[in-house]
């Protein structure tokens, strides 16, 4: 009997028992659907994180103060502020793999406009900060190098601050008060559209770091960090090395001694985050494949019942000349057809439920061709694996006993 014919015979047999066939396939449908939906959540999360990092700028480097031990007491990272505006200047001048730098300081403060006030984060940054962090100014302008140099009392509002203080009023040119100091609003940043998370980038006010040092923090010789963008992503490692070299000279660190600062590479951080979402994907997929396995056992179970129920049929087929392998292939094909049909429907269910998840839970989901192929292959092999034993049992029946079976 050729394959096409075997498939046709199996389809007929399945068709004769529609309800049972459907229930058998249901296990696979749910299994495949769950695998696809779960993997889509994992991959969606991965993509969301990657996008987030990309929006922050992939060639971004952070220079932060390191730890320092003082008389044997080891402080944590950033406990000591040892970066100076001079360090920033040195990097800008000497490191050729570096495109832009922005010294920064930050603080929190109460901001007042008219009878409204709002507590927010104050970011003192350089003029090139929007380029480094991929920020866009929606209205007005961002401050330039001269404004930074002269330490003007101007600021650019994050969109959330703008909404809370001005409530639709046109903000440009208005004066707000931060720590009793009047600042003129010269621009509003475009909303990043992200709430929550570790840092809400819409709830902040940017001003020249020089101004922030003088008016908000009250100390002009130190900066808290330097944000740097490398010329390109490929040169970011080079940029890290150059910065380290320059800062060691600036800080007069003896060869062999430990750095008192550290430079973090954005792509490393992004990779780390991607890695953890991969683990999430594997975990979710793993849990879902358990249900696929259970579905497979369901197929085996029903196939065994089906073989017992159809002993007479097997006997009849044998009496008219079906060989062992004909019977084996028939039942095996039934199992495979069931699981593949189940797999196809399951893919539909998976696509649908990942859409539902992203709609109702608000999670980003991503169904890749890879996960569909994987689920499909997996369901096919479940059919072969769990269909084989019942099929073999059927093929080993004795024709006389089978014919006589009541």
């Amino acid at each position: 009997m050729n394959i096409l014919r075997t498939i046709r015979v199996s389809l007929r047999a399945l068709n004769r028992n529609k309800m049972r066939s459907f229930l058998t396939a249901l296990g696979i449908i749910i299994g495949v659907g769950a695998v696809i939906a779960m993997i889509s959540i994992g991959q969606g999360a991965k993509q969301a994180i990657e996008e987030r990092f990309n929006s922050m700028g992939t060639n971004l480097l952070f220079v932060r103060p390191g730890s320092r031990s003082f008389r044997g007491r080891h402080g944590g990272g950033g406990t000591y502020q040892n970066l100076t505006p001079g360090d920033a200047k040195a990097i800008e001048e000497k490191a050729d793999a570096v495109q832009y730098i922005s010294p920064n300081v930050s603080s929190r403060a109460q901001v007042i406009y008219g009878n409204k006030n709002w507590n927010t984060s104050i970011q003192g940054v350089g003029a090139k900060y929007p380029e480094i962090r991929n920020w866009t100014v929606e209205e007005g302008i961002f401050f330039d190098e001269t404004m930074v140099k002269t330490g003007q009392k101007i600021c650019v509002l994050g969109s959330e601050v703008n909404e809370n203080l001005f409530e639709g009023e046109y903000p440009i040119g208005k004066i707000i008060r931060i720590k009793k100091v009047p600042f003129r609003v010269i621009g509003v940043l475009k909303s990043r559209g992200e709430s929550g998370g570790w840092f809400n980038r819409d709830d902040m006010i940017a001003m020249p770091y020089t101004t922030a040092q003088r008016r908000i923090i009250g100390r002009t010789d130190r900066i808290q960090g330097i944000d740097v963008s490398a010329v390109s992503m490929t040169r970011s490692i080079e940029a890290v090395e150059q910065i380290e070299e320059i800062l060691r000279i600036q800080h007069k660190i003896a060869p062999g001694a430990e750095d008192d600062f550290h430079v973090r590479n954005m792509s490393e951080i992004a990779e780390g985050a991607a890695e953890s979402t991969n683990i999430l994907t594997i975990l979710l997929g793993g849990i879902a494949s358990v249900s696929l396995l259970v579905g497979g056992i369901g197929i085996m179970n029903i196939m065994l019942v089906s073989v017992t129920e159809r002993i007479r049929e097997i006997g009849i087929r044998m009496s008219v000349g079906a060989r062992e392998k004909d019977i084996l292939f028939q039942f095996l094909t039934e199992a495979i057809v069931l699981s593949i049909l189940g797999g196809i429907i399951g893919i539909g269910v998976g696509l649908f439920s990942s859409k539902l998840i992203s709609q109702f839970a608000g999670w980003k989901t991503l169904v890749s061709m890879g996960s569909i192929a994987l689920a499909f292959l997996f369901s096919g092999s479940v059919g072969i694996f769990f269909g084989f034993y019942p099929a073999r049992k059927a093929s080993k029946l004795d024709p006389i006993d089978a014919l006589r079976y009541e």
Binding site: M1, G321, L403
Partner: protein, 230 residues
């Protein structure tokens, strides 16, 4: 009958093991059947007639002895080759019809063709012809449960004939039918035997049916106790 020897049984013995005890279903049977014969095997239940039919039908193998079908020794063949022989040379008709449930007459009739290398287009025609030859024209697409007992047995006969076998085996073919329908079925066998020269072996315990056969053998305790021919 001057025809060739079609079936030759030599010292056929069949022993079943039921737990510890051995049951001797057939004892040392030797017999020859000629091509075109119409043979009736008779005997009370437990006499071994079903066992004999199973061996002749290549569903079972003898414990001892030899069985030649058209000069080929089949008692030593493996399961797969026996299946080929059942498919090509033998048609079965059973007391309980043994049709597939929830299946049309046509699909039942096609069944043996699925296991031979006949192209699909041809199987339909062949099955249609077989059904019309047993008088079921126009009933091809009825499901078996929509057919009467006599019609179901005709489907079974069509199925047995569809591969043009040289041997037709019928095990109590009228056992589940009323007398009138039973007689029609028996007539059908008679015609097939006479017109198509198919060798027919009927297993029955009804003397009236056995009377149509050219030859009759009586079995008791696994042995042939009486032989008759017209």
């Amino acid at each position: 009958m001057e025809n060739n020897i079609f079936i030759k049984l030599e010292n056929l013995t069949k022993i079943y093991k039921v737990g510890e005890t051995q049951v001797q279903a057939l004892r040392d049977i030797s017999y020859s059947i000629h091509e075109g014969d119409l043979l009736a095997i008779m005997g009370p239940s437990g006499s071994g007639k079903s066992t004999l039919m199973n061996i002749i039908g290549c569903l079972d193998r003898p414990t001892k002895g030899k069985y030649f079908l058209e000069n080929q020794e089949v008692s030593t063949l493996d399961k797969n080759k026996l299946a080929r022989i059942r498919n090509k040379k033998i048609g079965f008709v059973f007391q309980t019809f043994n049709l597939l449930a929830r299946t049309t007459a046509l699909e039942n009739t096609e069944l043996p063709l699925l296991y031979s290398n006949i192209p699909r287009k041809k199987t339909r025609d062949v099955a249609f012809k077989a059904l019309s030859s047993v008088g079921l024209e126009g009933r091809e697409l009825h499901r078996t449960n929509q057919l009467s007992g006599g019609e179901q047995q005709r489907v079974a006969i069509a199925r047995a004939l569809v591969n043009k076998p040289s041997l037709l085996l019928a095990d109590e073919p009228t056992g589940n039918l009323d007398t009138k329908t039973g007689n029609e079925i028996i007539d059908l066998f008679k015609n097939l035997n006479a017109e198509k020269n198919i060798t027919v072996i009927l297993v029955t315990h009804e003397a009236e049916i056995a009377r149509i056969a050219h030859r009759r053998i009586y079995l008791r305790d696994g042995q042939i106790v009486k032989e008759e021919h017209d």
